[in-house]
Symmetry: C2
Subunit: 610 residues, 2 copies
C-alpha cells in the first residue's frame, strides 16, 4: 500500500513540522521595528485603494501608481514628483528603449495611456478593455515581454470572460484567448519560460486558481493550476480557433503531504526567480488552506515544461495526434485539424506538477498574503534564496531557504501599527524591498546588518546571506569576500579566532534595594531562537518572558536576595552573558559604592562556552 511505504518519511516530516512549531523554530529569530532605522518611508498623502510599484529610472527611485495619481519617489533625496491621472492605476510597464511608461487602470472603465518617464506629460487615456480590469479590486497580472503585452483582466464589467490575451503590433498579431465565461477563476501570476536554446519553444506560463468543478464531498474547494501558451502561437486558421490560442494547456499544481491527505489548494501569490538556465528558474508559490494556514511550494520551470511536453492528456486516453498538442510550431494556422480539435476544450495534463522535494518548503500557522523572493550570493559563492512573506497585519517575514528547510531570519515590523500590505516589490539589483499599505511606501535596505548585533557571533548566527562580519571594522556589514558568514549552519565557531572583548565579566555596580521592596531585573531578548535564564549565585532562576525582555521578579527584597545576578542566552551551543546585576538590601552593607541608575549592565561582551 502506498500509505505504508512512505509513512516513515511522512511522519518524520510532520514531526519536524510540529517539532519546529513546538521548539519555536517557526518563530523569527530577530524582530526589527520601525525604530531600528532600517526603513525609509514616504507618505502618499492619502489612502490609496490599490498601489502598483515599478522601479524608477535610477536606483533610489520608485514609481508608485495609486488612486488618480502616479508618483516618482526618490528615497535618497526624500522628494517626489507626481502627475494626476483620471483613473486608478492597476498596471504599469516600462517600454524598452523609449522614455515612456505604459500606465493602465480604471475609472469604472479600463483605460491606458503613455506617461513620460519624468512624469512631465501624459497622453490621452484610451479604452483598454481586457488590458486593465473594470474594478480596482480585481487582481489581473500582466507581462510585458519583447514588445508584447500579455494580460488577464476580465473582459466584462461583471468580472467574467477571463483569459490570457496577447497584444502585439508585430508579426504574431494579437490573440484573444479561449476565454472562459466565469467568475470562478483568477490569474495570480504570469511568467516567461525563456529565453530557451530553441526560441521557437518559448512559452508564457500562467499561474491561476479555479473553483473545483468536482462537487463530490471530498474534493478540494479550489484547484491550483499552471497553464502554458506558445509565444509564437498566432492562432488557428479561419475555420477554427482563429486569433485564439492553439497551444493552451493546463496542469494542476500539487502542494501538500499527499500521504496524510493534507493539501493546500488555494493559490495566493506566485513569484518567479529566473535562472541562467531557463529550466532552473523557480516559481515560488504561496498557498493557503481552509484553516488559515500557509504553505510555500517551489516548482521549477523545467518540471512544469516536462509535464506539458511528456504527460498524457486527461480525458484523452487515445492516440495523441502529431505534432503533439501544445508543442510550439512556427505557423500555428497550419496545424492539422485533429490537433486543433483537441485544443478547443480546456486540455488538461494527466500528471500534476510536483514541487521541489515533493513537499512544501514551508508549512506555517502564519497567514501569509504575498511573496517575493531574492537570490543572494553568499561569501562562499553559494546562491541562497531569501523569501519575503507579508502577513495579514502588515509584518514581513524574511526567510532563508537552506537545504530544503526554512529559517525565519527576521520579522520586519515595517509599519507602526496593524495594516494591510497592498503590494511589495523586490529590487534585486539594488537589494531593496519596497512595501506599501496604500498610505505610505517604505524602502527596506536588505543590507542593513548592524541590527543583528555588535559581535561576530551575532552576525554569523543571524544566517543572513546579505550580511557578514568584518573583522577589521568589527561590524556586521554587507557581505563581501572578506567577511565572515555561515549561512548554511550559523555556526558560531567561525568566529573563534577573533579577539574577545576585554570587558568580560566585569562586575557591575551594586544596586541598593529597600528591604521588602519589589524589584525587577530585565534581560533583553534579541533572539527568538535563544533560551534566556537569570542566574543567582550560579543557580538558574528561569525568567518571565515578556515583550520587553526576560524578567526576574523579586517581589519582596531581603538579604536572601543579596548578591550577583547574571542573565545568560544560549543558542546553537553558544552561551553568552547578556546582563549582569548586583543587588544589596538597602542600609545593610558598608564600604559599597552608592546605588546607581540603571545598574543592570547590558554587556556588550560575551563569554564563550564550549
Amino acid at each position: 500500500m502506498e500509505i505504508k511505504k512512505k509513512t516513515c518519511f511522512v511522519l518524520f516530516y510532520m514531526c519536524c513540522f510540529l517539532a519546529c512549531v513546538a521548539k519555536g523554530l517557526d518563530k523569527p529569530r530577530i524582530t526589527l521595528n520601525a525604530e531600528d532605522n532600517i526603513f525609509r518611508n514616504y507618505s502618499l498623502g492619502g489612502n490609496h485603494s490599490r498601489v502598483e510599484l515599478l522601479q524608477g529610472p535610477s536606483d533610489t527611485t520608485l514609481y508608485v501608481g495609486g488612486d488618480g495619481k502616479l508618483f516618482l519617489i526618490d528615497f535618497q533625496k526624500r522628494n517626489h514628483s507626481e502627475i494626476p491621472l483620471t483613473y486608478n492605476v492597476t498596471l504599469m510597464h516600462r517600454y524598452p528603449n523609449t522614455q515612456y511608461l505604459y500606465v493602465c487602470g480604471t475609472h469604472g472603465e479600463p483605460v491606458c495611456c503613455n506617461v513620460s518617464m519624468k512624469l512631465t506629460n501624459s497622453s490621452e487615456p484610451l479604452p483598454a478593455q481586457g488590458i486593465a480590469p473594470f474594478g480596482v479590486d480585481e487582481q489581473a497580472p500582466s507581462l510585458f515581454i519583447e514588445d508584447e503585452l500579455y494580460t488577464t483582466a476580465s473582459y466584462e464589467k461583471s468580472g467574467s470572460k477571463i483569459g490570457i490575451r496577447r497584444w502585439s503590433d508585430g508579426s504574431m498579431g494579437s490573440i484573444w484567448s479561449n476565454q472562459e465565461n466565469t467568475q470562478d477563476l483568477r490569474y495570480v501570476a504570469l511568467a516567461w519560460s525563456g529565453p530557451k536554446e530553441n526560441k521557437l519553444q518559448d512559452k508564457v506560463y500562467a499561474f491561476m486558481w479555479e473553483k473545483n468543478p468536482d462537487p463530490s464531498r471530498e474534493a478540494e474547494l479550489w484547484v491550483p493550476l499552471v497553464t502554458q501558451i506558445c509565444k509564437v502561437d498566432r492562432g488557428g486558421p479561419k475555420s477554427c480557433l482563429q486569433k485564439s490560442w492553439t497551444s493552451h494547456l493546463r496542469a494542476r499544481l500539487s502542494c501538500g503531504i499527499p500521504d496524510r491527505k493534507l493539501y493546500f489548494s488555494k493559490l495566493v501569490d506566485v513569484t518567479i526567480l529566473y535562472a541562467e538556465r531557463w529550466n532552473e528558474g523557480r516559481a515560488y508559490a504561496l498557498f493557503s488552506n481552509g484553516w488559515n494556514m500557509s504553505a510555500v511550494c517551489i516548482y521549477t520551470l523545467g518540471d512544469i515544461d516536462r509535464v506539458f511536453t511528456t504527460s498524457s492528456f486527461r480525458e484523452h486516453p487515445g492516440q495523441v495526434p502529431q505534432p503533439r498538442p501544445g508543442m510550439c510550431v512556427s505557423d500555428s494556422t497550419k496545424l492539422p485539424r485533429d490537433v486543433l480539435k483537441m485544443m478547443m476544450g480546456p486540455l488538461e495534463m494527466q500528471e500534476w506538477v510536483k514541487p521541489v522535494g515533493d513537499r512544501p518548503l514551508i508549512i506555517s500557522r502564519h497567514q501569509y498574503t504575498r511573496i517575493e523572493v531574492d537570490s543572494v550570493m553568499a561569501v562562499d559563492g553559494t546562491q541562497y534564496s531569501v523569501l519575503f512573506l507579508s502577513l495579514e497585519d502588515g509584518r514581513i517575514h524574511k526567510v532563508l531557504e537552506v537545504m530544503g528547510q526554512f529559517f525565519i531570519i527576521a520579522e520586519l515590523n515595517v509599519f507602526q501599527r496593524k495594516t494591510v500590505i497592498q503590494n511589495m516589490l523586490l529590487q534585486n539589483s539594488t537589494k531593496k524591498l519596497y512595501v506599501s499599505n496604500g498610505v505610505e511606501v517604505l524602502e527596506v535596505d536588505l543590507h542593513a546588518c548592524k541590527k543583528y548585533g555588535t559581535q561576530c557571533v551575532d552576525c554569523v548566527q543571524a544566517r543572513d546571506p546579505y550580511c557578514g562580519w568584518d573583522a577589521i571594522s568589527q561590524t556586521c556589514t554587507a557581505a563581501s569576500s572578506g567577511t565572515i558568514q555561515d549561512v548554511q549552519h550559523g555556526d558560531f565557531r567561525r568566529c573563534e579566532d577573533l579577539p574577545v572583548s576585554s570587558a568580560l565579566h566585569s562586575l557591575p555596580f551594586v544596586t541598593e534595594v529597600p528591604l521588602q521592596a519589589a524589584h525587577f531585573l530585565n534581560c533583553p531578548m534579541r533572539s527568538g531562537h535563544a533560551e534566556y535564564n537569570w542566574y543567582y549565585n550560579d543557580d538558574s532562576q528561569g525568567c518571565v518572558s515578556t515583550d520587553k525582555g526576560c524578567l526576574l521578579l523579586i517581589e519582596t527584597m531581603g538579604p536572601d536576595h543579596d548578591g550577583k545576578y547574571e542573565c545568560k542566552a544560549s543558542e546553537g551551543g553558544y552561551e553568552r552573558t547578556v546582563a549582569l546585576a548586583q543587588l544589596q538590601t538597602a542600609g545593610r552593607a558598608a564600604g559599597l559604592p552608592p546605588p546607581l541608575a540603571g545598574a543592570v549592565c547590558l554587556l556588550s561582551c560575551f563569554t564563550f562556552f564550549l
Copy 2:
C-alpha cells in the same frame, strides 16, 4: 450551487471560530493548579502501562486495574486494598446482584477471572480470547448489559480478526461476529440504545474508525463509523450466518464544515450521555485531523437510529427485501434468504449520520485525547452538559456546552508536571472525576467552587452549573435552589441587589521607591477572559502579561511616577479594581506613612461599572 447557498452561514461560523481563537474565547477562563486543593491524589506505587477505572462499592471508592494488580482505593479514608493478578488489567465489569467483579486482561494471552468485591479472593484466570486483547496497548471497548457481555478485542495475536462479539449464557447464546480480518480498524466505544418502548428493537451501537479503502487522492485517510446490531439477534440458520450477526449495519459519521471541505475524520474517543427518552441520548464524539486539531461532534441516538431504519443502502440501489435488513426480529434464524444474503457483506447506509446543529460543537487547535461528559442540572432546572477533555500533556479542560456554543470554564492542571492521561472516569452520581496517568490516580471534586473567587460576580461569571453563590454564607458553593447562578450568560447583574463590600476604593499605604530604582506592580490575572489594565492617575498604562500576572514595569523611578496606581479587570461589561498602589519617590515627601511590605493591595472588594 450548494456552495453558494450556505456560504453566508459557513463564513459566519468559520469567522466565529477564528474570531473566538483571536479573542481568546477558546482559552480557559480560569486555571486551577494542584495547589488549589481541589484534587485528592493517590499513588499507585509504580508506573502502570494501562489503567482501568471502575466505581467502587461506595461513593468515595474506586477500583483501579493496573499491571499485575487490582486496587480498591478509598479517597476519603486515604487507604487502599489490593490483590495481585498474573496479568495486566484491560477490562472490568461489575456483575449485577453478586459480590464479584469480572476482571480481564493479558499476560501475552488474554485471560479473565472473578474477583470478590472486597478484593479478598480471585478465581483462577481462564483463557479469554476475543474478550480481552493480546496486547496491553489495544483499546477494545466492551459493554456489560443485562447479563450479556459485548466485546471488540481482536481474536488473534497479530491484532487481526476484529469484530463485535456477544457472550451470553442466556437464551440468545453467544454470537461470534462477522469479524473482519484486518488491522485497519478499531472500535472506540460501545453503547446501548435502550431501554426502548419496544424492547425487541433494543440495539447495541459501536463507534469505530477504519482506514479509508478509497485510495483516491482526495479521499480522507480515515472513515469514522457507527454500527448497529440487534440485542435479540441470535444469528442466522445453520446454512447461513449461523452464530453471526444478521442485523449488522454501518453508517458513516460526518464531522466538519462540508461547505468549506473541512473535515475531521479520525475518531479519537466517544462517550455517551444517556437520557430518559432513549432517542435523546447523545454520543459525544472527539475527532482529530491531520493538523493536530480537535473537534467534538454530538450525535443523538435518535438520529443514528433514524439513519439505520430509513436510509437507503449503499451499493444496493434495487428493491429492499422484507423485513428491512437490520430491523430486529424475534427469531433471526427464520429470516428470509434474500435478507440474510444482503447481511453477509458489510452493509452500509447511503446517508451519513450528521451531528446536532449540522456542525461541530467545538473546533480547537488544542490536541484533545479523551472525552467525558456530565449532565448537570442548573439552579433554574435547565440541564447543561459539561465536557471534560484531556490534553496530550496531562491538563484537562472543563467545558460548558451552551446553546450550541462552548465555553471553557476552567483548565485543570491536575498533575504537577507534563504527563499522559491514561484514563478518565466521570462519576455522575457523586460528581467526581477520576483521572490517572498510570502513576497516580486523582479525584477531582466537581463541586469545588470556592476557587472561583470570594464575590458573587466571580461565581456567576464562572458559568459553572455545578456552582452557585450563597448569599447567606457569602461563598461560591455547590449549586442548590437558593444559590445565584447564570450559566446561560454569566451576567454579573444577577448579583446587583447584594451588598457590596465596604472596603471599596480605600487607598493603600504609600510605597517609597528610591530615585532611579526599578520597580514593578503586579496585578493577578484570575480570568483568562478578562482584560487587565494598570491606570496611573486614571490614564491607562496597559500592562505586560505574564504567567505571574499583569505587570506594570517602572524602569527608572522618578517624581513623574509618584501617585496612585489602579489595576482594573474588565469582563462581560463588568469592571473591577483588582489591585491598588501608591508610589512615592523616596525621601521627597513628608508626613506620609513609612514604606510598607507588599503595598500592592489586592482588593477583595469590587466596584460596579455600569
